[in-house]
């Protein structure tokens, strides 16, 4: 696990989930649900494990303070591509810069809809940075309107900047 992916993971909420699962385990009668909860628990625990590993791994990066709240800034490693930035702490992209984020050769996959640049690298419906014949690294505003008008799915995506 890369330390930069730790941003957004909150230890507090993981611990809360673990406690909730344990409490639930005391009361659920159904063996299937119990297995599901155990599975979930295992998942949380391995998350904690990988977070811990990433933090103490020697060589890879300096020990870093744990992110305690969601939304704290990423704590390490610059992304594969140097992101263009402007003053005001808002990352901006020109269309040409955006085109590098095509999800190929290890680059992240970004797409723009109505001026906002979204990260679809880990979005399940964008496997291999393609989605219904569309490819990443482009302004897909028109395509989005013609396919998803009125659907509130953009709010689920990570915003990485603005198109200029």
């Amino acid at each position: 696990m890369r330390a930069q992916d730790l941003s957004g993971i909150s230890f507090d909420s993981i611990i809360a989930e673990v406690n909730y699962d344990i409490n639930l385990l005391y009361v659920v009668p159904c063996v299937y649900t119990r297995n599901m909860i155990l599975n979930h628990l295992r998942d949380r625990i391995s998350m904690v494990e990988s977070v811990t590993k990433a933090i103490i791994q020697p060589g890879q990066l300096q020990p870093q303070p744990l992110p305690l709240q969601p939304g704290v800034t990423p704590i390490a490693e610059p992304p594969a591509l140097q992101q263009p930035t402007t003053p005001g702490n808002q990352t901006t992209f020109t269309l040409q810069e955006l085109s590098k984020y095509d999800g190929k050769g290890g680059n992240p996959a970004y797409v723009t809809v109505n001026g906002t640049v979204y990260d679809v690298t880990s979005n399940a419906t964008w496997a291999a940075a393609t989605h219904f014949g569309l490819t990443a690294g482009k302004d897909l505003s028109n395509e989005f309107v013609s396919c998803h008008a009125g659907e509130s799915i953009l709010s689920k995506l990570k915003v990485v900047g603005k198109l200029v």
Partner: protein
């Protein structure tokens, strides 16, 4: 992993959706409560893959379909009669109660001249004429497979014969069973539901919810790898094939539960990414089927 050993009640129930309907139907047929209905299976522009897939069905088998469930009026691959006699047989259903099953897309170029299905009273009958004439009068129309439901492979770029879906030429409800091919259970289950209770519950795109309700990704045995960000780098790896371009996350169908070839296996279990054959827009919209050297891993 064989699904038959699965004890999860949801999987068990969903694996048996078709079987339960068919059992009820068989009982009612034995008791003489259920009336056979006429079935016409029209094959337009496609590869005959859906009728072949149906012949592979086991629960019940094809023989039961044509002898006990329906009066199987016509199918151009299987009918014993030929030529004009077969065509007369086909059009003899007009005026009676019948269910129309269609596989294959409808060619529209030059008024459908690229698919002539036969000759009636000395005149050529195009596929488009046949599906329009029979489709308007049928009690139910079921489009089977990718080509019939949305154009599919027959309508793939550059689509020289200008193929379209069955729905595009019919102004009525068409039940759609996308898939390349359609699983025998999806058709048999839908037909059994029609015989027993009428039209099954459909989603916004007229797919029976009995079969097309969940994403492959939501029931995939490799899902825990996806959630942890552990991805296959090449075919044969046993982890999530998201980075290779798996289309499970956009494909709604029950393959992970039902599996294929009499419930033996299915693509992902056999290390092939899902290519979205049961999603509208296949194959063009689901390409590329495999990609290497894509986005870097998110978590290790």
């Amino acid at each position: 992993m064989s699904n038959r050993s699965i004890t999860c009640p949801e999987y068990k129930a969903r694996l048996n959706t078709a079987a339960n309907l068919l059992d009820t139907m068989k009982t009612q047929i034995r008791q003489g409560v259920l009336k056979k209905r006429n079935l016409v299976w029209l094959e337009l522009t496609g590869c005959s893959g859906n009728i072949i897939s149906l012949l592979d069905g086991s629960n019940p088998d094809f023989k039961y379909l044509i002898s006990q469930m329906t009066n199987f009026i016509y199918n151009n691959s299987l009918s014993a009669s030929e030529g004009e006699v077969a065509m007369e047989q086909l059009f003899s259903v007009l005026g009676s109660d019948y269910i129309l099953a269609v596989e294959g897309a409808v060619t529209t170029k030059n008024n459908g001249l690229y698919n002539i299905i036969g000759r009636l009273n000395g005149k050529l009958v195009t596929a488009i004429e046949a599906v329009k004439t029979l489709g308007e009068k049928a009690a139910f129309v079921i489009a089977i497979g990718a080509c019939a439901t949305h154009g599919g492979v027959s309508a793939a770029r550059p689509n020289p014969a200008e193929c379209v879906s069955v729905q595009s030429v019919l102004n009525r409800k068409v039940i759609k069973l996308p898939g390349c091919p359609c699983h025998p259970d999806w058709f048999m289950g839908t037909l059994a539901h029609i015989l027993l209770y009428g039209e099954p519950d459909l989603d916004r795109r007229d797919r029976p919810l009995l079969f097309y309700s969940t994403l492959i990704h939501d029931r995939c045995p490799r899902r825990s790898y996806f959630d942890k960000g552990i991805f296959a780098e090449k075919l044969g790896d046993k982890t999530c094939m998201f980075k290779l371009g798996c289309r499970g996350p956009v494909t709604r169908i029950d393959c992970p539960i039902r599996q294929w070839n009499q419930y033996v296996n299915w693509p992902i279990e056999d290390d092939t990414p899902c290519i979205g054959c049961a999603q509208f827009g296949f194959p063009d919209a689901m390409e590329p089927f495999i990609s290497y050297n894509t986005t870097r891993e998110v978590r290790r």
